[in-house]
Amino acid sequence: MNENLFASFATPTMMGLPIAVLVVMFPSILFPSPNRLINNRLISIQQWLIQLTSKQMLTIHNQKGRTWALMLMSLILFIGSTNLLGLLPHSFTPTTQLSMNLGMAIPLWAGTVITGFRHKTKASLAHFLPQGTPLPLIPMLVIIETISLFIQPMALAVRLTANITAGHLLIHLIGGATLALINISATTALITFMILVLLTILEFAVALIQAYVFTLLVSLYLHDNT
Protein backbone atom coordinates (compact mmCIF):
# COMPACT_ATOMS: atom_id res chain seq x y z
CA MET A 1 0.00 0.00 0.00
CA ASN A 2 2.89 2.37 0.73
CA GLU A 3 4.31 1.81 -2.72
CA ASN A 4 0.93 2.55 -4.31
CA LEU A 5 0.45 5.73 -2.32
CA PHE A 6 3.56 7.44 -3.62
CA ALA A 7 3.46 6.01 -7.13
CA SER A 8 1.37 8.92 -8.38
CA PHE A 9 4.18 11.35 -7.53
CA ALA A 10 6.77 9.62 -9.70
CA THR A 11 7.98 11.30 -12.90
CA PRO A 12 5.47 10.56 -15.63
CA THR A 13 6.87 8.33 -18.35
CA MET A 14 5.42 7.10 -21.60
CA MET A 15 7.02 3.94 -22.92
CA GLY A 16 10.11 4.55 -20.83
CA LEU A 17 10.65 8.19 -21.82
CA PRO A 18 10.05 10.93 -19.25
CA ILE A 19 7.32 13.27 -20.45
CA ALA A 20 7.40 15.61 -17.48
CA VAL A 21 8.16 18.57 -19.77
CA LEU A 22 5.09 17.86 -21.88
CA VAL A 23 2.93 17.55 -18.78
CA VAL A 24 4.20 20.91 -17.52
CA MET A 25 3.54 22.59 -20.86
CA PHE A 26 0.05 21.15 -21.22
CA PRO A 27 -2.00 23.77 -19.25
CA SER A 28 -0.86 26.53 -21.60
CA ILE A 29 -2.94 24.90 -24.35
CA LEU A 30 -6.04 25.60 -22.29
CA PHE A 31 -5.49 29.38 -22.42
CA PRO A 32 -5.46 30.34 -26.10
CA SER A 33 -4.64 33.93 -27.00
CA PRO A 34 -6.32 34.91 -30.28
CA ASN A 35 -5.80 38.38 -31.69
CA ARG A 36 -9.47 39.15 -32.16
CA LEU A 37 -11.31 42.03 -30.62
CA ILE A 38 -14.35 39.93 -29.72
CA ASN A 39 -13.64 36.35 -28.78
CA ASN A 40 -15.72 33.31 -28.11
CA ARG A 41 -17.26 32.70 -24.70
CA LEU A 42 -14.47 30.60 -23.25
CA ILE A 43 -11.75 33.08 -24.05
CA SER A 44 -13.91 36.03 -22.99
CA ILE A 45 -14.44 34.40 -19.60
CA GLN A 46 -10.71 33.73 -19.25
CA GLN A 47 -9.85 37.31 -20.20
CA TRP A 48 -12.41 38.70 -17.79
CA LEU A 49 -11.04 36.56 -14.95
CA ILE A 50 -7.48 37.58 -15.74
CA GLN A 51 -8.46 41.25 -15.79
CA LEU A 52 -10.28 40.91 -12.48
CA THR A 53 -7.32 39.19 -10.83
CA SER A 54 -4.70 41.52 -12.23
CA LYS A 55 -6.63 44.62 -11.21
CA GLN A 56 -6.96 43.33 -7.68
CA MET A 57 -3.36 42.24 -7.44
CA LEU A 58 -1.65 45.25 -8.97
CA THR A 59 -3.36 48.08 -7.10
CA ILE A 60 -0.71 48.11 -4.36
CA HIS A 61 2.21 48.43 -6.75
CA ASN A 62 3.85 51.53 -8.15
CA GLN A 63 4.94 51.86 -11.75
CA LYS A 64 8.13 49.86 -11.24
CA GLY A 65 6.24 47.03 -9.61
CA ARG A 66 3.64 46.93 -12.37
CA THR A 67 6.28 45.83 -14.88
CA TRP A 68 5.94 42.46 -13.14
CA ALA A 69 2.24 42.23 -14.04
CA LEU A 70 2.76 39.66 -16.79
CA MET A 71 4.95 37.51 -14.55
CA LEU A 72 2.51 37.55 -11.63
CA MET A 73 -0.51 36.77 -13.79
CA SER A 74 1.32 33.95 -15.58
CA LEU A 75 2.33 32.60 -12.19
CA ILE A 76 -1.14 32.49 -10.73
CA LEU A 77 -2.59 31.04 -13.95
CA PHE A 78 0.07 28.35 -14.15
CA ILE A 79 -0.09 27.25 -10.51
CA GLY A 80 -3.91 27.40 -10.45
CA SER A 81 -4.33 25.41 -13.64
CA THR A 82 -1.74 22.75 -12.77
CA ASN A 83 -3.24 22.32 -9.30
CA LEU A 84 -6.77 22.02 -10.65
CA LEU A 85 -5.75 19.60 -13.41
CA GLY A 86 -4.01 17.50 -10.78
CA LEU A 87 -7.34 16.77 -9.16
CA LEU A 88 -8.32 14.61 -12.13
CA PRO A 89 -7.76 10.91 -11.45
CA HIS A 90 -4.46 9.40 -12.56
CA SER A 91 -3.00 12.78 -13.47
CA PHE A 92 0.43 14.09 -12.59
CA THR A 93 0.69 17.40 -10.76
CA PRO A 94 4.01 19.15 -11.37
CA THR A 95 3.53 21.34 -8.30
CA THR A 96 3.86 18.32 -6.02
CA GLN A 97 7.54 18.19 -6.88
CA LEU A 98 9.74 20.31 -4.61
CA SER A 99 12.22 20.75 -7.45
CA MET A 100 9.59 22.48 -9.54
CA ASN A 101 8.40 24.77 -6.77
CA LEU A 102 11.94 25.72 -5.79
CA GLY A 103 12.55 26.43 -9.45
CA MET A 104 9.66 28.88 -9.34
CA ALA A 105 10.32 30.36 -5.91
CA ILE A 106 14.09 30.97 -5.97
CA PRO A 107 14.36 33.01 -9.20
CA LEU A 108 11.30 35.11 -8.38
CA TRP A 109 12.33 35.82 -4.80
CA ALA A 110 15.93 36.52 -5.86
CA GLY A 111 14.52 38.79 -8.56
CA THR A 112 12.63 40.87 -6.02
CA VAL A 113 15.62 41.08 -3.65
CA ILE A 114 18.05 42.04 -6.42
CA THR A 115 15.52 44.63 -7.69
CA GLY A 116 15.43 46.13 -4.21
CA PHE A 117 19.19 46.23 -3.82
CA ARG A 118 19.68 47.65 -7.27
CA HIS A 119 17.16 50.49 -7.19
CA LYS A 120 16.75 51.35 -3.52
CA THR A 121 19.93 50.07 -1.87
CA LYS A 122 19.61 51.98 1.40
CA ALA A 123 15.95 51.14 1.86
CA SER A 124 16.62 47.46 1.10
CA LEU A 125 19.40 47.30 3.66
CA ALA A 126 17.16 49.13 6.13
CA HIS A 127 14.68 46.25 5.93
CA PHE A 128 17.08 44.23 8.03
CA LEU A 129 16.31 46.32 11.10
CA PRO A 130 12.70 46.98 12.13
CA GLN A 131 11.91 50.48 13.24
CA GLY A 132 12.21 51.33 16.91
CA THR A 133 14.29 48.41 18.17
CA PRO A 134 16.20 49.06 21.40
CA LEU A 135 19.97 49.41 20.95
CA PRO A 136 21.20 46.22 22.69
CA LEU A 137 18.87 44.03 20.58
CA ILE A 138 20.16 45.30 17.24
CA PRO A 139 22.80 42.62 16.39
CA MET A 140 20.50 39.75 17.22
CA LEU A 141 17.62 41.27 15.32
CA VAL A 142 19.74 41.80 12.19
CA ILE A 143 20.68 38.12 12.29
CA ILE A 144 17.06 37.12 12.72
CA GLU A 145 15.90 39.36 9.87
CA THR A 146 18.61 37.93 7.59
CA ILE A 147 17.55 34.40 8.40
CA SER A 148 13.91 35.29 7.81
CA LEU A 149 14.82 36.80 4.45
CA PHE A 150 16.65 33.69 3.30
CA ILE A 151 13.87 31.43 4.48
CA GLN A 152 11.33 33.18 2.20
CA PRO A 153 12.01 31.13 -0.98
CA MET A 154 12.18 27.89 1.01
CA ALA A 155 8.86 28.68 2.68
CA LEU A 156 7.23 29.58 -0.63
CA ALA A 157 8.30 26.32 -2.26
CA VAL A 158 7.70 24.00 0.68
CA ARG A 159 4.30 25.54 1.43
CA LEU A 160 3.02 24.82 -2.07
CA THR A 161 4.58 21.34 -2.24
CA ALA A 162 3.35 20.24 1.16
CA ASN A 163 -0.20 21.53 0.70
CA ILE A 164 -0.76 19.94 -2.69
CA THR A 165 1.05 16.68 -1.86
CA ALA A 166 -0.80 16.31 1.44
CA GLY A 167 -4.13 16.87 -0.25
CA HIS A 168 -3.43 14.29 -2.92
CA LEU A 169 -2.23 11.76 -0.35
CA LEU A 170 -5.35 12.25 1.76
CA ILE A 171 -7.57 11.71 -1.27
CA HIS A 172 -5.67 8.50 -2.08
CA LEU A 173 -5.89 7.25 1.51
CA ILE A 174 -9.55 8.01 2.08
CA GLY A 175 -10.50 6.69 -1.35
CA GLY A 176 -8.68 3.48 -0.60
CA ALA A 177 -10.37 3.27 2.78
CA THR A 178 -13.79 3.74 1.17
CA LEU A 179 -13.11 0.94 -1.28
CA ALA A 180 -11.86 -1.37 1.45
CA LEU A 181 -14.86 -0.66 3.68
CA ILE A 182 -17.52 -1.43 1.04
CA ASN A 183 -17.30 -5.16 1.68
CA ILE A 184 -17.06 -4.78 5.45
CA SER A 185 -19.78 -2.28 6.31
CA ALA A 186 -21.75 -0.26 3.76
CA THR A 187 -22.73 2.53 6.19
CA THR A 188 -19.14 3.23 7.17
CA ALA A 189 -18.20 3.19 3.51
CA LEU A 190 -20.92 5.75 2.83
CA ILE A 191 -19.67 8.00 5.61
CA THR A 192 -16.13 7.69 4.31
CA PHE A 193 -17.41 8.54 0.86
CA MET A 194 -19.03 11.69 2.22
CA ILE A 195 -15.69 12.60 3.77
CA LEU A 196 -14.09 12.02 0.38
CA VAL A 197 -16.57 14.35 -1.34
CA LEU A 198 -15.97 17.08 1.24
CA LEU A 199 -12.23 16.58 0.92
CA THR A 200 -12.38 16.95 -2.84
CA ILE A 201 -14.28 20.22 -2.48
CA LEU A 202 -11.59 21.34 -0.04
CA GLU A 203 -8.89 20.37 -2.49
CA PHE A 204 -10.48 22.51 -5.18
CA ALA A 205 -10.35 25.43 -2.82
CA VAL A 206 -6.79 24.62 -1.74
CA ALA A 207 -5.65 24.40 -5.35
CA LEU A 208 -6.84 27.92 -6.05
CA ILE A 209 -5.87 29.35 -2.68
CA GLN A 210 -2.30 28.07 -2.90
CA ALA A 211 -1.88 29.64 -6.30
CA TYR A 212 -3.16 32.88 -4.92
CA VAL A 213 -0.98 32.76 -1.83
CA PHE A 214 2.17 32.05 -3.81
CA THR A 215 1.54 34.90 -6.18
CA LEU A 216 0.46 37.25 -3.42
CA LEU A 217 3.62 36.64 -1.44
CA VAL A 218 5.83 37.20 -4.45
CA SER A 219 3.91 40.39 -5.10
CA LEU A 220 4.39 41.44 -1.48
CA TYR A 221 8.12 40.83 -1.63
CA LEU A 222 8.13 42.87 -4.83
CA HIS A 223 6.24 45.70 -3.15
CA ASP A 224 8.80 45.79 -0.38
CA ASN A 225 11.56 46.19 -2.89
CA THR A 226 10.20 48.62 -5.49
Binding site: W68, L102, I106, P107, L108, A110, G111, I114
Partner: protein
Protein backbone atom coordinates in the same frame (compact mmCIF):
# COMPACT_ATOMS: atom_id res chain seq x y z
CA UNK B 1 9.72 28.05 -38.04
CA UNK B 2 12.48 30.02 -36.37
CA UNK B 3 11.19 33.19 -38.03
CA UNK B 4 7.71 32.43 -36.71
CA UNK B 5 9.15 31.91 -33.27
CA UNK B 6 11.04 35.18 -33.43
CA UNK B 7 8.02 37.10 -34.74
CA UNK B 8 5.49 35.68 -32.32
CA UNK B 9 7.55 35.29 -29.16
CA UNK B 10 10.74 37.34 -29.17
CA UNK B 11 9.39 40.56 -30.72
CA UNK B 12 6.47 41.05 -28.30
CA UNK B 13 8.47 39.81 -25.30
CA UNK B 14 11.70 41.69 -26.06
CA UNK B 15 11.24 44.53 -23.49
CA UNK B 16 10.43 41.96 -20.85
CA UNK B 17 13.34 39.63 -21.52
CA UNK B 18 15.86 42.44 -21.96
CA UNK B 19 14.82 44.97 -19.34
CA UNK B 20 12.05 43.98 -16.94
CA UNK B 21 13.27 40.48 -16.09
CA UNK B 22 16.99 41.21 -15.71
CA UNK B 23 16.91 40.46 -12.02
CA UNK B 24 14.93 37.26 -12.61
CA UNK B 25 17.64 36.07 -14.99
CA UNK B 26 20.14 36.71 -12.21
CA UNK B 27 17.89 34.74 -9.88
CA UNK B 28 17.82 31.89 -12.40
CA UNK B 29 21.60 31.97 -12.46
CA UNK B 30 21.63 31.71 -8.68
CA UNK B 31 19.20 28.79 -8.84
CA UNK B 32 21.30 26.97 -11.45
CA UNK B 33 24.35 27.50 -9.23
CA UNK B 34 22.51 25.91 -6.32
CA UNK B 35 21.35 23.01 -8.50
CA UNK B 36 24.91 22.47 -9.73
CA UNK B 37 26.28 22.49 -6.17
CA UNK B 38 23.68 20.01 -4.94
CA UNK B 39 24.12 17.72 -7.93
CA UNK B 40 27.91 17.68 -7.65
CA UNK B 41 27.76 17.03 -3.91
CA UNK B 42 25.36 14.16 -4.51
CA UNK B 43 27.62 12.74 -7.22
CA UNK B 44 30.64 13.03 -4.94
CA UNK B 45 28.93 11.28 -2.06
CA UNK B 46 27.64 8.52 -4.35
CA UNK B 47 31.12 8.01 -5.80
CA UNK B 48 32.56 7.85 -2.30
CA UNK B 49 29.98 5.32 -1.23
CA UNK B 50 30.58 3.20 -4.32
CA UNK B 51 34.38 3.30 -4.07
CA UNK B 52 34.56 2.22 -0.44
CA UNK B 53 33.48 -1.44 -0.35
CA UNK B 54 33.42 -1.72 3.47
CA UNK B 55 30.01 -0.73 4.91
CA UNK B 56 30.06 2.54 6.85
CA UNK B 57 28.50 1.29 10.10
CA UNK B 58 30.03 -2.15 10.33
CA UNK B 59 28.07 -5.18 11.43
CA UNK B 60 26.37 -5.05 14.82
Amino acid sequence: MLQNLVKNVWVPMKPYYTQAYQEIWLGMGLMSLIVYKIRSADKRSKALKASSPAPAHGHH
